[in-house]
């Protein structure tokens, strides 16, 4: 039962389906995996490129700011008013005031053009200074000598500071990036003043904050020393709550590096001009979140493709296996014994149509062989029938002749004539008729002759009665079926009967559209055991007529089929009745007769 349920899976079509599906499935899946990877890679690359562009833009903007400050520095440090203001000695106050006014004027102009500048200042060594304007007071507590931008500029370097809080103006604490350089003193070369310009830190922090690298991504900036110029989580880093691999970034030779755990991508852009490193941090999961829709689309595509493949494979396999199934049906019908089927050869011209052709030829040959066989069988049966019919028991002949001799010696001429003529009739019947069948009346006549002889031999011991309906006299029956049964009755039933007269009765009737002949005797009968073995071949009595019960049965069935034949009823010490059933061979005549009648 279980096997049948999954028969389709094991069928040829099922296997074609499975193979096709497997191939398509593998193809679709590999395609999908490759596509998704490729998409991820592309998205990653695009995203990295985009980040890189943004970061470079930040760097360029910063360079722009710094460049601007350098320009300002250039203008201011080269300005003679500034030098005069800082270095001229022995001025009267009026003249100095003029210088200071001019410088203040210049600073005002510069500050007006650039609103990202907090402070512009020049600092002399002797307490002369100017920050922004003539009124701004320097924070006396600001410890200039300890501030890098100041002492390094004094040493002659141009300094771009990291982000820091500028405290040079009293009560002002702004986050700035300071650019500073010395102002050459032509009068006393060792006594240089310092110029500085403070860039509003928000210019830079805004640049970084405006960059959108996903919700979690951010930008940070390191100066040439590796100090943080800008980092959104600067305080967290100082407290150890946020880990940033600043050293790795500083020492990176590539423009893109991954964080150790691979969750973040650092895009690095170093500026030659400022020495600063701008780093964009992007989170991989955010970067790839955009591919989700694409991935879903791929999955849907895969499902649709597999679905289509499934349908196609079923259609295809159906088409491919259709002739095969036809062939199988044909074979099945042949299996069931139907050789006369019309085989339609499919016009596909492939191996299966070859198979069909071969099968057709095979069926044809089998049919020929069978016809041949049937012919042979028929002939064989004819010969067998002939052989079976040809025999007249020599014992019977001898016994009969012996009886005749005895009767002749007794001078019983009448009886001799009677018996001899009966024997003559018997012999003539058995040799004259070459046909397989005889008319029932002839068969009965033949039996009567036989009974005549036997009655004379057994004298008072045997009586017989023949009662055959005259309507079936003309029925054609296989010959020699009644006489052997009568012979059987005499030899087995009556001969052994100890007392009383033996009686053989032959009845012929038309019953239920069949011809029925009953031969009954009142002999010794049979035990149920004997009755059971009545058709067995083994029970051949050599003394008896060779034409036995089984012989008769065999011939009837050879001729009319197994629906007809003999049946026995018997009771021990009461008698035996044999019933012969034969088809109605004169039905047409009878129907005609009825019509007439």
């Amino acid at each position: 039962m279980k096997k049948r349920k999954f028969r389709y899976l094991h069928s040829f079509q099922g296997r074609i389906n499975q193979s096709l599906l497997l191939i398509v499935g593998i193809a679709v899946l590999s395609f999908m995996i490759i596509s998704i990877n490729q998409t991820n890679q592309t998205v990653k690359n695009t995203s990295a490129e985009y980040t890189s562009q943004l970061i470079q833009m930040v760097n360029e903007n910063i360079e722009d700011y710094i460049g601007n400050m350098e320009n300002i520095a250039h203008i201011v440090t080269g300005n003679s008013d500034v030098r005069n203001f800082l270095y001229t000695v022995n001025d009267d106050e009026m003249v100095h005031n003029t210088y200071s006014q001019k410088v203040a004027e210049q600073f005002k102009t510069l500050k007006e053009t650039r609103n990202d500048i907090y402070n512009i200042g020049i600092l002399g060594n002797d307490g002369r200074y100017m920050i922004n304007d003539r009124y701004t007071v320097m924070n006396i507590h600001a410890n200039l000598e300890e501030q890098e931008w100041y002492y390094k500029a004094k040493q002659g370097q141009e300094v771009i500071s990291s982000s820091h809080v500028q405290n040079i103006v009293e009560n002002e604490y702004h986050w700035v990036v300071t650019l500073s350089r010395e102002i050459p003193n032509l009068i006393e070369p060792d006594n240089n003043g310092v110029f500085f310009v403070d860039l509003n830190y928000s210019s830079i922090s805004n640049l970084c904050e405006e960059i959108n690298l996903g919700t979690k991504g951010y930008v940070f900036i390191l100066d040439d020393q590796g100090n943080l110029v800008y980092h959104p989580k600067q305080q967290l880093i100082y407290s150890g709550l946020w880990e940033e691999n600043l050293d790795t970034v500083m020492n990176a030779t590539e423009e893109e590096i991954y964080s150790p755990d691979g969750t973040r991508l650092f895009t690095i852009s170093k500026s030659e001009k400022t020495g600063w490193t701008v780093v964009g941090v992007t989170y991989m999961d955010e970067m790839l979140s955009g591919t989700k829709r694409i991935r879903v689309m791929y999955y849907l595509m895969a499902v649709i493709l597999i679905g289509v493949a499934l349908l196609l494979s079923i259609l295809l396999s159906d088409m491919i296996t259709m002739p095969l199934r036809k062939l199988r049906e044909s074979m099945k019908s042949v299996e069931n014994g139907n050789f006369d089927l019309e085989i339609e050869e499919p016009q596909t011209g492939d191996e299966i149509s070859d198979l069909f052709r071969s099968f057709k030829i095979m069926i044809l040959k089998i049919r020929q062989l069978m016809e041949h066989g049937i012919q042979e069988q028929r002939e064989k049966r004819k010969m067998e029938l002939n052989a079976l019919q040809a025999q007249i028991n020599p014992h019977f002949l001898y016994n009969t002749l012996d009886s005749i001799i005895w009767m002749a010696e007794d001078g019983d001429t009448r009886d001799v004539v009677l018996m001899t003529s009966a024997l003559a009739r018997l012999l003539r019947k058995s040799i004259s008729n070459k046909n397989e069948t005889v008319m029932l009346s002839e068969e009965i006549e033949y039996t009567r002759s036989y009974l005549t002889i036997q009655k004379m031999r057994y004298k008072d011991k045997l009586e017989y009665e023949i009662d055959v309906d005259s309507s079936i006299n003309h029925a054609e029956i296989v010959k020699l079926i009644v006489q052997p049964l009568v012979e059987n009755s005499i030899y087995h039933g009556i001969k052994n009967k100890e007392n009383g007269k033996g009686m053989v009765r032959i009845e012929g009737r038309y019953e239920d559209d069949e011809i029925v002949i009953r031969i009954s005797d009142n002999g010794v009968g049979m035990t149920p055991e004997q009755l059971k073995h009545v058709f067995d071949d083994r029970v051949i009595d050599t003394k008896r007529n060779g034409v036995g019960v089984q012989n008769v049965q065999h011939r009837i069935q050879l001729y009319y089929g197994t629906d007809y034949g003999l049946s026995f009823e018997s009771e021990e010490n009461v008698g035996t009745t044999v019933t012969i059933r034969l088809p109605d061979t004169m039905q047409v005549d009878k129907n005609d007769g009825r019509k007439d009648g």
């Binding site: 049948r4 349920k5 999954f6 028969r7 389709y8 899976l9 069928s11 079509q13 099922g14 389906n17 599906l21 924070n139 507590h141 600001a142 501030q147 990291s162 820091h164 809080v165 405290n167 009560n171 604490y173 702004h174 986050w175 509003n200 830190y201 928000s202 922090s205 805004n206 904050e209 919700t215 979690k216 100090n227 943080l228 959104p232 989580k233 600067q234 305080q235 967290l236 100082y238 407290s239 709550l241 999961d285 955010e286 979140s289 989700k292 991935r295 879903v296 999955y299 849907l300 499902v303 597999i306 679905g307 499934l310 079923i314």
Partner: protein, 334 residues
Amino acid sequence: MKKNENKYLFLAVVGIIVIAVVILFLYLNSEDAGSTGTEQQVKIVCIPKAMDDSNDFWTAMIEGAQMAALDNDVDLTIMSPRLETDIDVQNQMIEDAIAMQPNAIVLAPCDYIKTTPYAQKVVDAGIKLLILDSTMDKDFGCTVVATDNVEAGRKMGEYMKGHLNEDSVIGIVGHVKGASTATDREKGIREAIGEFEDQIVDVVFCNSSYSTAIEVTEQMLAEHPDINVIFGLNEYSAVGAARAIKKLGLTGKVHMIGFDSSLEEVSMMEEGVIDAIVVQKALNMGYLGVTIAYQESLSSEIQEDVDSGSVLITKDTIYTEENQKLLFPFHKND
């Protein structure tokens, strides 16, 4: 007939497998996306004591909270009274926050006693409670993220011990009498100065008001003219005391240490009125508060109390890279 049935069976089996695979994929996919999606986002309400652009402490704390929200993909709502003294306003906000049914409420209670019943409501509503900055008169068994004020006081005491000798006379200007922060800081100071503890002659309170601070300091100095060491226990106390010292011309004669930072304090420190200050890490407090609230919302495990830290800053260390960030919170519109 049988064959067809088998075919449909086969179709059905294949169909089911395909659908199962698709569902599996989509499921994995959606889980993938879940980390950035909004469905499973943890919702946290943070209620500080005050939100005011001029108040650097709470501004930094809120900034930290927002950073943590961004890092952990938390749906963060900030509700805050304008002033620390708006206790009723804050209590109303706690109720509003409960109505929002967040996973957790991060609360910096305005009042030691009056806030308690509202905090209880949070716990009763089954919402995770996390306390920031200061405690209340009831222990809710929840995580407290705050400056370890005893430790901060100890830092003040240890630094000032360098200026102490047997002749030192010590005065303390506190903010609110009985406030846990004031008590703890004082305790830390007393622990740290050890043998000089007896030389503390007076402890006065200013109720977090500059003018009161000036008054009480002046009063204290009038009562104890020999005081030469003053501790200011919060920004108001420190600035008030420093102003008083400056006003009385005692700069350099009286050593003074303050708490919390403001530009005025920095300025005073540059001037030399104030020797040093101890600064809390407000940003860290906010960051840790929200981060821990987020973690506890996911794991339901109560973490231990966290010290968000404090730093001692002197005139010389004002402009170090780290301290600048603490002392001068950077605002974009500066």
